[in-house]
């Protein structure tokens, strides 16, 4: 079982947290901090698996992480999961994000955290892996996006117009900010079929 999926940046700021077990908000924050401390200390060239922290799961627990550019992707799992399997899953996750956002960067995750949740919910459900095939995931995410758009229809029009106006006034439109130096590089790894 996957206990939690955390994404935070190099400074430990959470960009996405998904807990599949019940913790209080305070504990959740502590877990994120602890995990960040465990993971961020580690060299780039050391193993991507480590024993979990005290808060989440204890000895049965493992952290599997990958570091991409400014972001850490951490999966907290118990002993029933295979480390290499999860590592591959992280890769699938990031590649999927990259496909959905076109050169995903940290800002995409900040402003579209709902979409990231969305993608994640097509991969992992209630702590269990739902789908590992990237094409399958993308198909379903796209189909649901289409549904949302068509549903918004007439009711959504004014809101969309306003949002466009709001965006116009603001100097920072997320996509245009320095994508170059914070974009996540997705190395080509053999992924799940």
């Amino acid at each position: 079982m996957i206990k939690a999926i955390l994404i935070f940046n190099n400074h430990g700021k959470p960009r996405l947290s998904k807990f599949y077990e019940h913790y209080s908000e305070d504990t959740e924050q502590q877990i994120i901090r602890e995990t960040f401390h465990l993971v961020s200390k580690r060299d780039e060239n050391v193993c991507n698996f480590l024993e979990g922290g005290m808060l989440i799961g204890g000895s049965d627990n493992k952290l599997i992480y990958r570091h991409y550019a400014t972001l850490y992707f951490v999966f907290c799992v118990d002993s029933s999961e295979s480390e290499l399997g999860i590592l591959d899953l992280i890769q699938v996750f990031v590649e999927t994000l990259d496909k959905c956002f076109e050169n995903v960067c940290e800002l995409d995750l900040i402003f579209h955290v709902d979409k990231v949740h969305h993608i994640l919910s097509e991969m992992v459900m209630g702590g269990m892996v739902l789908e590992t095939n990237m094409n399958e995931i993308i198909t379903h995410v796209d189909a649901q996006n289409k549904m949302e758009k068509s549903e918004a229809g007439i009711a959504g029009a004014p809101a969309r117009a306003v949002s466009a106006v709001k965006n116009m006034n603001l100097p920072e439109i997320p996509k245009n900010i320095n994508i170059g130096d914070i974009s996540i590089k997705v190395p080509n790894l053999p992924s799940f079929k």
Partner: protein, 941 residues
């Protein structure tokens, strides 16, 4: 109605949405908490609105705040409410919230009472995504009551027509089981059925659920083993495979028979893992890795797997001329430990390693000889039942090493006795022969020792011992044993006669075996320069005329010979004959222990000897591992090595501190970062004996400068290697890499070996019979400052992608007083361009090609190119192997062809420093990569 909705939305359209919230938080870095509390207030207001869209927006923002650590449980009711909306969008945002954090009992009841009808309604929605979202939501907040009420609904969904729903339903059943265990029994048959679902996603979900269940109570799921076994052999989904293997890990302790069935598929996986190990080792981790493997060897069941481990250990240790071994004493003890394996087929492999190390590493001989003497002494343990034992091959090595290097023996007399025990006569013939021959060498050593003392009787007794024992071997059925034994027996008898006349014979007997046998490099013969005036191609005698040869064909006496067609001319000895001769020569070399093989791993030393391979191997149970007394355990070395490194490190640190104290250290290693490969110095200076080369082979350069500094040799700056990759037109799957090696050191470099880690796509072509890890010898040596070129052929499967291959060059640096082994890592970049070959093309053929319509097109724009157009074209032609088909003003068409026959056409135009290239090719990915490479070429200028 619609109007009302629009009006409602307009009222609220200046509410913050999620993005506004995020932006706001980012803009209020100083007073984030305050800003968020106002936002929460707004959200509370929004939740009070009737408009469900507003509520949904609020919930969406709550999700984000929850992630930041704010308590949102107060909104649980609203969340469920939004969940109940008919709009998909709103529900999605809710399912993301972790409602489980709502722990109040009250809320649970609300969820139960409110959500049940809602969820049920969604579960039967015609839209698969509505149902999907409901299921996802449910996975977050399943309660025992919900589980009980929904179990049957979800079970129905497990047979839904859409695989998307099926897989979610299957997964969520696990949550239902947890909260409502009674549902497991009725649901199980259906769950089992899903293991064979046509959709791989559903299959994988079912495997997931059953693995989770089986983790708690494996014995209930034993009955599924055959089904899983089938899945394991048929599935290609890595995730499913991993899960199944985990599951079998839980099942096998309960059903031992299962283990046997699993051996085959699992060993396949293990093989792959072991192959990975090969590339992983370094000086630092070799001992650790081998220690782990040795543990597996001890535990391994089944000789095949154990033998596999054994060969891997030896392969790993001996790769690239033992480059990762820092302590050969450790390696020898590993080899000695391996001799305890009962019934292995690889005795000869261990033996050849022992010989190889003892011969080539001078410094280790004292240790090796002592070990081998113990081995001989305990030989009876190894040969307990020699009929089935391949391990006795190591005695061959032990006997030879003890004999050849007998001067290092502490007690040669004892070893001599051990070698002449009657039990030896039960060993295979070729080993006995080595025993007899080396007993004679030992005899010489013993005589020398004994004659040195005044006790002449002892020497005579030794001769008597041989005279007593040798007749046993003289009676041997093996001709070689017999011949050697009788020869030596007569010699000893004669010696005894002399001894009785009080003549000192030791000196002369020793002379019989004088001279050190040095290893000879496999290519030594080739290196001998042809003397002036000798023409190897010239005939010594006039060649017999063809007609003559036919006339004088000798008549076969016993059998009628098939008439041969034309007799091949002497100059062109046909390939088969050559191959046969080569094979024969290899065999001969392989059987010669004094001959160093091209690579340590491909040794099939005694393969042609009958017996070993064909002895039926019977496995016996040996609960107590055989411990040969007096043998060191390799583990001790591991510990010692660690201590040594620790010590070294602390010393180094001390030194560095000192250095720093003496003003700013000028040392090259000012920063003592993490321990790097180079920092690990060998335990004792091991000079790998250099292979013997014929005199005047190449201008050797022995007058080296300043050999005082041993570190100087380490400081090799050979980073200058230039290479060029070129396709082979004749063969679509071959590329030739020409590498120029330049020696920038002050020392002589020799025995260079070029090795590349093969990838699936590209493989270095090695001579037949060598393993895929062997290096290729570079056919020259390099005096200081000299450069030379060598070519290597690679076979390539797919040429549409560029590729990088990692490799190592190992070589021996020869200084005046020592030789050290060094290595250099490099990368070979196989660009797609290198697969292209400049091919001329006429414009009409070119036009036809373009018209055919079979080519895919792609284009490229280069900005700011300031060079004349013809320079540009020349550059493309030169760097990317194109040829110009036609050129009109500032426009040109170009053509090239890949080694596998792909056509690549370019149309290059230029105007105002902008170059546009339109390209067509029948292989789009090849084209894309070539264009990238062209872009890269121009980005560099």
């Amino acid at each position: 109605m619609a109007l009302k909705i629009v009006k409602g939305s307009i009222d609220r359209m200046f509410d913050k949405n999620l993005q506004d919230l995020v932006r706001g938080i980012r803009n209020h870095k100083e007073d984030e908490a305050k800003y968020i509390s106002t936002c929460i207030d707004e959200i509370k207001q929004e939740l009070k609105q009737d408009n469900i869209a507003v509520k949904a927006n609020a919930v969406c923002k709550l999700t984000y705040l929850q992630m930041l650590g704010y308590d949102v449980s107060w909104a649980a009711f609203n969340i469920v409410e939004v969940m109940s909306s008919s709009k998909f969008t709103y529900k999605v945002s809710c399912s993301q919230l972790q409602l489980q954090s709502v722990d109040a009992v009250l809320i649970t009841t609300i969820i139960n009472s409110v959500s049940l009808p809602l969820v049920t309604q969604d579960l039967s929605s015609p839209n698969q995504y509505d149902t999907g979202v409901a299921l996802t939501g449910l996975s977050c907040f399943v309660t025992p009551d919900l589980a009980r009420d929904l179990a049957s609904d979800i079970m129905t969904l497990m047979s839904h027509t859409k695989p998307y729903i099926r897989k979610k339903a299957v997964l969520i059943m696990y949550k239902v089981f947890l909260k409502y265990p009674e549902s497991l029994r009725p649901a199980f048959p259906r769950l089992k059925e899903k293991l064979e679902d046509p959709d791989p996603g559903v299959q994988s979900a079912a495997v997931n659920v059953i693995c989770e269940l089986a983790r708690r109570n494996p014995k209930n799921y034993l009955s599924l083993a055959p089904l899983f076994f089938k899945l394991m052999t048929s599935s290609t989904n890595n995730w499913v495979l991993i899960k199944i293997i985990k599951l079998f890990g839980a099942l096998t302790p309960l059903e031992p028979r299962l283990g046997k069935k699993l051996i085959e598929p699992l060993t396949n996986l293990i093989h792959r893992a072991l192959d990975l190990l090969y590339g992983m080792v370094s000086k630092k981790n070799l001992m650790e890795i081998v220690k782990k493997l040795m543990l597996h060897v001890d535990k391994a069941e089944g000789t095949t797997y154990r033998d596999e481990l054994l060969t891997k250990i030896i392969d790993i240790c001996s790769q690239s001329n033992y480059q990762y071994i820092t302590n050969f004493e450790w390696y020898i003890s590993i080899l000695v430990e391996l001799t305890r394996l009962e019934g292995t087929r690889h005795g000869h492999l261990i033996a050849s390693q022992m010989l190889d190390v003892a011969i080539r590493v001078k410094a280790i001989r004292v240790f090796a000889v002592a070990q081998m003497a113990t081995l001989l002494d305990n030989g009876h343990l190894l040969t307990g039942n020699m009929q089935r034992n391949g391990i006795c091959e190591v005695l061959y090595a032990a006997a030879w090493i003890c004999g050849e290097f007998s001067e290092h023996l502490e007690d040669p007399m004892q070893t001599l006795e051990a070698m002449l025990r009657p039990k030896v006569a039960t060993l295979p013939g070729h080993i006995q022969a080595v025993y007899v021959q080396n007993a004679a060498k030992l005899f010489a050593t013993v005589l020398r020792k004994q004659e040195g003392t005044t006790d002449s009787l002892a020497a005579q007794e030794t001769s008597q011992l041989l005279i007593d024992r040798l007749p046993l071997f003289v009676q041997s059925a093996n001709l070689e044993v017999q011949e050697r034994a009788s020869c030596i027996l007569q010699l000893v008898k004669y010696i005894q006669k002399l001894q009785q006349k009080e003549v000192e014979v030791a000196e002369e007997v020793t002379a019989l075996f004088a001279g050190e046998l040095n290893p000879v490099a496999p290519k030594a013969q080739k290196k001998v320069p042809v003397p002036d005036g000798l023409d190897l191609d010239a005939w010594i005698n006039e060649p017999p005329s063809e007609s003559e040869s036919e006339d004088e064909k000798p008549k076969a006496i016993f059998t009628k010979e098939e008439p041969k067609h034309t007799r091949p001319r002497h100059t062109e000895v046909d390939e088969k004959e050559l191959a046969r001769r080569r094979e024969a020569r290899k065999q001969e070399q392989a059987n010669n222990p004094f001959y160093i093989k091209t690579s340590p791993s491909s040794q099939k030393v005694y393969q042609d000897q009958p017996g070993v391979e064909h002895i039926p191997v019977v496995q016996i149970d040996l609960s107590v591992p055989l411990k040969v007394p007096g043998m060191p355990m390799s583990d001790q070395y591991l510990k010692l090595e660690e201590e040594r490194r620790q010590k070294e490190r602390s010393e180094r640190k001390k030194k560095e501190k000192k250095k720093k104290r003496e003003k700013h250290g000028r040392g090259r290693r000012a920063d003592s970062g993490p321990e790097s490969e180079e920092d690990i110095t060998p335990a004792h200076h091991v000079d790998i004996v250099t292979e013997e080369m014929p005199e005047n082979a190449l201008p050797s350069d022995d007058d080296d400068k300043d050999p005082n500094d041993p570190h100087k040799a380490l400081d090799i700056d050979l980073d200058k290697y230039v290479y060029d990759v070129q396709g082979n037109l004749q063969d679509g799957s071959q590329v030739v890499v020409s590498v120029i090696f330049e020696n920038k050191t002050d020392h002589f470099l020799k025995s260079m070996e070029f090795n590349v880690l093969d990838s699936l796509n590209s493989k270095l072509q090695r001579p037949e019979g060598s393993s895929p890890h062997d290096g290729l010898a570079v056919p020259f040596q390099l005096p200081p400052g000299v450069s030379n070129e060598a070519r290597f052929v690679f076979s390539v499967q797919s040429i549409v992608m560029p590729q990088k291959l990692k490799g190592t060059l190992t070589f021996i640096v020869k200084t005046e007083d020592a030789s050290t082994h060094e290595k250099l890592d490099f990368k070979l970049h196989f660009t797609c361009t290198s697969y292209l070959i400049t091919t001329p093309c006429y414009s009409d053929a070119y036009a036809k090609l373009l018209e055919s319509g079979e080519l895919k097109s792609s284009s490229l724009k280069l900005e700011g190119v300031i060079m004349p157009f013809h320079h540009l074209l020349a550059r493309i032609c030169f760097h990317h192997h194109f040829s110009v088909v036609e050129r009109i003003d500032s426009c040109a068409s170009m053509y090239s062809r890949s080694i596998q026959g792909h056509h690549v056409c370019l149309l290059v135009k230029t105007s105002n420093q902008t170059v546009s290239i339109d390209a067509k090719c029948d292989e789009p990915s090849l084209l894309g990569n070539v264009l990238d490479e062209i872009k890269h070429t121009f980005s560099q200028c």
